[in-house]
């Protein structure tokens, strides 16, 4: 048995909201005891209070989560300023949480701690890892590399980086009853869990190709020998770089590209900081996406994941979607989830959030990658 239930409230009052969420979960649980959960919450809530209430209601639960830039669930569909909780019950699947602290000081040690903490509690080999790490203090790629090192290169890792409603000031991560920053909370699933996933973006390169001429990991200093900021000003006028206009970074053959989104910039040095690392001498192009491209991509991501599900009856679906998608979509952001629902005949508990960077293996492999502007679908079950 593997069962997932979900609660979702858009009440801005923290206590009312968490009570509503707990009530919904209890009624869906119908007596089953949850083992673990994942909580996605908007930035303005009293997170500590919410975590305490959840632990009171479901004692001994392994809980992780974090702040977001928009929440998704099968209860209230797309919301901003809401909290949504997914709980997992199973007698066959083990789910344990761990956390790594001060990840910006030493991503490798922090992620190792998180993995060791979770693994210490489980009796079976890990099958997959969920995470909701910090996004602003260090690059998503270095966190992912640390997790891969601790879990093994072939361990599938899924998740999204924590958000703060596009303020880019402070994000929070949740571990049990703790509200943390600069940390990496993880959930490790082991046992007879079945899962499938897919990723899609919808962004495409536009304009002329250029070359990275000076870069230090995720800080891009020069493009074509000129300040990186000049490149953006050429295309965006005097407006600053932002996530909606990321760079397409091409591979060596110049055929495939991946997306790297800007997080901040430095007016004086003309440099731009990105969510992930960019290789030196890489060929790049600015990229953009239109409503239809974004919506078609999220639908494709869900359809592919559903087609690839190895069992017959999925129990839950998790979504990690990029905040830039929500921002471009505006009022049509709700269609991302609604489109996925149209592909289903029955009810599938769903939970997800809009993140500052997505983590998932590339299609049909176990090679986990850091993504931007992407819609990740993860389907879970054990039948």
């Amino acid at each position: 048995m593997f069962k997932a239930v979900v609660g979702h409230s858009n009440d801005p009052d923290s206590l009312s909201a968490v009570e509503e969420v707990i009530q919904q979960c209890v009624s869906f649980l119908a007596g089953d005891i949850p083992k673990a959960g994942i909580l996605f919450a908007a930035i303005d809530f009293e997170h500590s209070l919410i975590l305490q209430q959840i632990h009171q209601a479901f004692s001994g639960i392994e809980l992780i989560g974090g702040t977001t830039d928009g929440e998704i669930s099968s209860v209230l569909e797309f919301q901003q300023d809401s909290i949504t909780l997914m709980l997992f019950c199973s007698d066959e699947v083990e789910i344990y949480a761990g956390v790594g602290r001060k990840v910006s000081d030493d991503p490798i040690t922090a992620t190792k701690q998180a993995v060791e903490e979770a693994k210490a509690k489980s009796t079976a080999d890990p099958k997959l890892c969920l995470t909701h790490p910090e996004s602003l203090t260090t690059s998503g790629v270095s966190i992912l590399n640390g997790l891969k090192l601790a879990l093994g290169q072939d361990m599938p890792i899924f998740g999204g980086l924590a958000g703060d409603q596009s303020r880019y000031q402070n994000t929070y991560q949740f571990f049990q009853t703790e509200v943390l920053s600069d940390s990496v909370p993880i959930l490790i699933f082991s046992g007879t869990i079945l899962f499938s996933h897919a990723v899609a973006s919808g962004w495409h390169p536009i304009g002329q190709t250029s070359k990275v001429t000076k870069v230090d990991k995720n800080i891009l200093y020069e493009i074509d020998g000129k300040p990186a900021l000049d490149f953006y000003h050429h295309y965006l006028g005097l407006l600053p770089p932002s996530m909606e206009y990321p760079l397409a970074v091409f591979d060596q053959n110049g055929e495939n590209f991946y997306i790297r989104a800007p997080i901040s910039y430095n007016q004086e040095s003309g440099s731009i900081t990105f969510f992930g690392d960019i290789p030196d001498q890489a060929v790049i192009q600015i990229s953009e996406a239109a409503y239809e491209d974004i919506l078609a991509a999220s639908k494709a991501s869900f359809m592919n994941a559903l087609d690839n599900y190895p069992g017959t009856e999925p129990s839950a679906v998790l979504f990690f979607s990029c905040v830039a998608r929500r921002q471009i979509l505006g009022t049509r952001a709700q269609e991302e989830y609604q489109n996925t629902k149209l592909c289903l005949t029955g009810y599938l508990p769903a939970c997800g959030f809009y993140s500052y960077g997505e983590i998932a293996p590339i299609a049909r492999t176990n090679q986990t990658q850091f993504h931007n502007e992407t819609f990740v679908t993860l389907i879970l079950g054990n039948r």
């Binding site: 009052d13 407006l239 921002q327 505006g330």
Partner: protein, 347 residues
């Protein structure tokens, strides 16, 4: 309604109010964000459209340049083809008078021998010639004439032979190709090309003769477009001469003599694939790896402005690969020389 119902309703209304207030705040900040994103998109699209326009303009310029070049090439081609016809005609026209001369030289030599014999006979029969005859013999230097006249005739013969071979070479070289392949003697083509290039192979003040080593194999006539193949030979041999001359730069006459400029032409039959192999090798400057990559490209040239068109090798390549379904390879070591290896099917 019961009090409990009222309380529930008030609670619901309060919640709805909180949500609406929050959504209002959020929608305001989202609207600002969306406006910002749209401004960026507008700017991005405008810039990209401008870039595309610039790109289109430069493409148009480039296509005009190419059209112009094509026109010039067509003019050049016309000129070359009429020049080719003219050369063939001239060569043919020269043949007639030259054959008069060559044909008359043998009887002229006979007549002269007869006349000299007659003079001898006269001198033997009448050893005492008149004073006038004696004087004339001295004035015209009869003894010298007797000695020089046969030499003169044979050098005239040599001259007419050379004119004949030059006009033959011109005729072979400038032969216009028909639409069908013809049977052709490859060696004749190479030889006629060498004849036309003879003035460039000869010694001059700077260097001795460029040695041409021929190592011809035996094979039948091959079916090909002879005029086009001659063009390839001309291109490769002229390039080889350029390459060896370039390698002489900074060297004295004697130094060059000690290590002479050399062009080797090797031909052979590759029986198992029914191809003939033509290898033209020189000990010139060689070609850098960088240039080797681009040398068959259209309009690529290493020669100074006005000297090379950048068409020679690319056309030679097309003639061998496309027109004759052959192969065309180059081996070259910078500073040591180059080798062009062509194979062409026999039919």
């Amino acid at each position: 309604m019961e009090i409990g119902d009222y309380q529930r309703e008030i609670k619901e209304l309060k919640k709805a109010k909180r949500i609406i207030q929050k959504q209002l705040e959020r929608s305001e900040s989202d609207r600002i964000k969306l406006e910002d994103i749209n401004k960026k998109k507008e700017s991005l699209l405008r810039t990209v459209i401008e870039e595309l326009k610039e790109y289109q303009n430069s493409l148009e310029e480039r296509s005009q340049e190419l059209e112009m070049m094509l026109l010039n090439l067509q003019i050049m081609q016309n000129k070359m083809s009429s020049l080719g016809n003219l050369v063939a005609d001239v060569a043919h026209e020269i043949n007639n008078p030259v054959s008069f001369i060559a044909g008359n030289l043998t009887p002229a030599q006979e007549y002269i021998e007869n006349l000299l014999h007659l003079i001898n006979l006269y001198q033997q029969t009448y050893p005492k010639a008149s004073q006038q005859i004696q004087k004339t013999i001295e004035v015209i230097e009869l003894e010298y004439i007797r000695e020089d006249l046969p030499k003169l005739i044979s050098s005239m013969k040599e001259g007419t032979d050379r004119i004949c071979s030059i006009s033959d070479s011109l005729r072979i070289f400038s032969r216009a190709d028909t639409e069908q392949k013809l049977l052709f003697n490859i060696h004749e083509g190479i030889d006629s090309t060498l004849m036309i290039l003879k003035h460039r192979l000869k010694a001059n003040k700077i260097r001795p003769d460029i040695q041409v080593v021929k190592d011809y194999g035996e094979f039948p006539l091959i079916k090909c477009f002879p005029g086009q193949l001659n063009q390839v030979f001309m291109n490769l041999l002229a390039n080889a001469i350029d390459a060896v001359e370039e390698s002489n730069s900074g060297l004295s006459f004697d130094k060059i003599k000690a290590n002479p400029n050399q062009i080797t032409i090797h031909t052979a039959l590759i029986e198992d694939i029914n191809h003939v192999l033509i290898r033209i090798q020189d000990n010139g400057v060689g070609i850098s790896a960088d240039v080797q990559q681009k040398m068959f490209e259209h309009l690529f040239t290493t020669k100074p402005v006005g000297k090379g068109t950048g068409l020679g090798l690319s056309i030679a390549y097309q003639i061998i690969i496309q027109k004759h379904r052959g192969t065309f390879k180059v081996n070259s070591v910078l500073g040591e020389g180059s080798e062009f290896i062509i194979t062409i099917p026999i039919y």
